[in-house]
Symmetry: C2
Subunit: 230 residues, 2 copies
Amino acid sequence: MKIAIIGTGIVGKTIASRLVELDYEIMMGTRNVSDKLASTAKDNYGNPPFSEWFKLNSMLKLGSFAEAAAFGELVINATNGSNSVTALILAGAKNLAGKVLIDIANPLDFSNGMPPSLLPGLNNTNSLGEEIQKTFPETMVVKTLNTMWCGLMINPNLAGNGDHVNFISGNDVKAKNKVKDILKQFGWKDENIFDLGDITGARSTESMLPIWLRIIGVTKSGAFNFKIVR
Amino acid sequence: MKIAIIGTGIVGKTIASRLVELDYEIMMGTRNVSDKLASTAKDNYGNPPFSEWFKLNSMLKLGSFAEAAAFGELVINATNGSNSVTALILAGAKNLAGKVLIDIANPLDFSNGMPPSLLPGLNNTNSLGEEIQKTFPETMVVKTLNTMWCGLMINPNLAGNGDHVNFISGNDVKAKNKVKDILKQFGWKDENIFDLGDITGARSTESMLPIWLRIIGVTKSGAFNFKIVR
C-alpha cells in the first residue's frame, strides 16, 4: 500500500523508516522539496539535516504536501500541530477525500516557552483531531499514537514488554480497523489498542500531553508509556 | 493529628472514613451545618443523604468551613472544583495559614453537559491547585490523588495489586513529605508516589481528567488507574 507522510520531522522520519521496513511505499510531503533538500540546518533535537537522512533512506520518495497526499492511499499527519491544518489545506482537500488520515500530531503551543502548553482554541472543548475532521469532512480522521515518544509508537516492545496503552479515536469504524492493522504490524497487541470511540476522543488524548511533558521534565526520559491497571 | 475535610461529597466522605480508621481526629466542613443535616436529598450518585451517613459515622465532627479549617492541623480540599476557592475563602485565610492543604479537587465544568470539560481560566496555563496556592500564599498546597476514583485513593490495592501511580505536586518539600506519610498509610507504595515538583504540576494532573472521564465513558467503570511502564 502507498502511504503519504505529511511532515519531515523526527516523528515523520521514524514512522517512515518503520513503514518502509514493513514494505509500504512511502512518499513524505514537505512544504518545499528543493528548500528541504538544500537545508543544512540540524533539527530541534540536534539531529543531522533532513537531506542527510534522506540520502540514507533511498526507498523513500519526497514530494510537496499535495504530491504526497495525491500519492498516498492512506495519509499520516506528522506535522507540527500548530501547523497541521495549514499543511493539510496545502495538501489539498481533494487529495485527502475518501482516504484514511492518521493524525499523530499534538496542538502544542511553544509561544510561552518550555514546556509547551496546548494551543488556544484546540484544547479542552476542542482538539486538533476534531479540527482536522471538521476541515476535511470527506476524510476519515483517526487519532492515535500521539501520547508517546515516537520510538515507542513504532516499537512498543521498547517499554514494559509492549504492555502499555495506545488510544485510538475516529468516527469511522472501518478506518479505525485499517489503522489497527498497521498498529499491529508495529507490534501493538490488540488488547493494548484502546478504542475511545469517535474523534472527540482526540480531546482526551491530546490532553495527556501536559502530564507526558511533565514526566519527561522530571525524569529526563521519554522512554515510558502509560498502562491501565484494574 | 486533627484533620479538616472541606466538602461533604463522596470524595470527602470516603477520605473521612479512612482517616478515622487510621485514628485521625476529623472535622468535616460544610457551608451550613444545620442545612446539611436537615437535607433529605440523595447525592448526585443516588447515595443516601449526608445526614444518614453521618449518623453511622459518630466519630466524625461536622462544622462550618471556618470551624473545620480552624480545627484541622492539616486541611483537605474535597469540594467541587468549581466551588473550591469560594469555599476556602469562607474557611478563612487565617485558619489555613501555616498549614498543609491537600487539594484533591478538579476544576470540572459541567455547564456544557456530560462529560464535563475543564473550567475556563483553570486549565492548560493555570490549574486549581495553583489558583489555591496563589489565593492562600501562607498555606502549603499539595496537589495529589486527583487523578483517580476515590475508592482507589484510600485503598490502592483495589487495582493492580496497588501497583499504579499517584502524582504529587507542591512548592514545599516538607509539606509533601507529610502528605506522603498519609498516602503510605492509605497503602501507597513509596515507588508509586510520583513527585512532579512544584505546584505547577497540578496543571498536568488536572489535565488527566479528560482521558480519565473518557475511559469511564467507554468502560463504565472508574476502578482503574494508570501505571508508568519503562
